[in-house]
Amino acid sequence: MSTMTETSKTSPESQAGGPANAVPLNRTWWERNGRTTSIWAGRAALVVVFVGLWELTGGWLFDISFTSRPSAIWTRLVEWNADGTLWVNSWITLQEIIYGYLLGSFAGALLGFVLASAPTFYKVLDPFIMALYAIPKVALAPLFIVWFGIGMDMKVLLAAVTVFFLVFLNTAAGVREVDRGLIDAVRLMGGGRADIALKVVLPSSMTGMLTGLKVAIPYALIGAVIGELVASNRGLGYLISNSAATFDTAGVFATLVVLSVIAAILNFLVGLLDHRVSRWKPAEARS
């Protein structure tokens, strides 16, 4: 046994890194963070230049009744913050996004997992699923209004339908790509169908499911906002169409800013989840 322990320390095979050959590096702050810092500095510079040019050129190069200007947008945001418009409407939209996302992704993940586990049945359904997937979800909005009215339900469902297909298809693909060898390994250990499903198929399809969950986030937002644009009296979509109808471009841009902040926060949250779940994957396949 002692020979084995020795080889694990000395042979070049342990190049994958381990306790045996981890060497402390005394790198300076700049060596460690230089790259990240310059990238963020570049991003900040880009924003400053863009906003600066927009502010300065507005009024003589562009007509501000069409393009507005950053200072006007900021003023509008401050006003909306003061009278509560911003928060009431953002909260409505955020709720629609979250409920729609949860509903759609839960149904998509569950159904994707179950259906893909029965390959023949999945084959039968496949063309119908693809046909439904191909329908532009906006086209469903009028129907949903008839069914559910113009309240929040209709937006939640519109977001859910959009999210559902993305999560469903990615989860199903993940399930179908499970390595046969891993399933056999569990069978050899005496594992039954439940063991295979829980200990191999589920973790293995996690990659596909997470891809689905990640790409679906902006679509939940799209679903909710489109629903609001079609028919509503509250929410950020309503704020956009209402501002546009009164030629208030600053209001439109202010809402867009809020929407992109919401999208960025949601992406960040799923990024955290992804990082936790896929720690076992090679670094280059992650991010």
Partner: protein
């Protein structure tokens, strides 16, 4: 000694489009309890198919495999099978991979942990318990697989060219390790390889297979143990056995 595994008239045909492809024809083998049998054959002679059938993963087209007199109809926990490729779960770290067979057979969490620690120490992976398979080298992954196989406490080990992809030095280490684990354990081993030296170094008995699993030669190896690879190379008995095996392999390919 009694016969533990008995293989009779085993034939396997795979279906591909409209043609059937025969991988193994009328293959037979008896394995004594507690013995170390090496099966030697060139690639494509049906060695892996034979092991897949013996492990119960595949169902034969014709013929039977029986274990202690019972027909084998599916995988069973007394028989463990180390395949050519790694089948460690990539999302489990080394320790949780090794615990897996015990998890499935319902061993309590504490016992599982203890036994896994013990196995990790035995295969020399101490310090790598929390590493994921992709963070390990090929040799370390093999050792983890070996430990996982032993975690199920099988009576019989089926091994399909387990050390084929490793460098020579590591291969020797793991061969010695396997012999050490086997000697005095009462376990039965069927070890498939295409390497004559490996077959002679490990086996009590070497079975040489030709095309479609035809048995060309079946010979007990009476070299004394422990066998040392470097000394064996100049041993006249070994040299003549080596020649005989080479001849048998050539004969089998016809």
């Amino acid at each position: 000694m009694s016969t533990l595994i008995e293989v009779r008239g085993l034939t396997k045909r795979f279906v591909k489009d409209e043609t059937g492809i025969v991988a193994l024809r009328d293959f037979g083998l008896e394995v004594e309890k507690g013995s170390f049998v090496t099966v030697l054959g060139r690639s494509g002679c049906g060695k892996s198919t034979a092991l897949n059938l013996m492990s119960g993963l595949l169902k034969p087209t014709e013929g039977t495999v029986s274990y202690r007199g019972d027909p084998v109809t599916g995988p069973r926990t007394e028989i463990s099978y180390l395949t050519q490729s790694d089948t460690l779960m990539p999302w489990r770290d080394v320790r949780r991979n090794i615990e897996m067979p015990m998890e499935i057979s319902g061993v309590s969490k504490r016992e599982r942990r203890e036994h896994a620690e013990e196995l990790i120490r035995r295969v020399g992976l101490t310090g790598f318990e929390r590493h994921y398979p992709r963070e390990l080298s090929g040799g370390m992954r093999r050792r983890a697989s070996l430990a996982r196989m032993l975690a199920g406490d099988p009576e019989t080990l089926l091994m399909d060219e387990p050390f084929g992809a490793l460098d020579a030095q590591l291969r020797t280490d793991l061969q010695l390790e396997l012999l050490r684990l086997w000697q005095g354990s009462g376990k039965t081993v069927v070890f498939v390889t295409h390497d004559i030296e490996e077959a002679l170094l490990l086996g009590d008995r070497v079975v040489v297979l030709g095309l479609l699993g035809r048995r060309v030669l079946d010979k007990p190896i009476e070299l004394s143990r422990p066998r040392d690879a470097d000394e064996l190379r100049v041993d006249p008995t070994f040299v003549s056995l080596h020649r005989e095996m080479t001849e048998a392999l050539r004969e089998g390919a016809r």
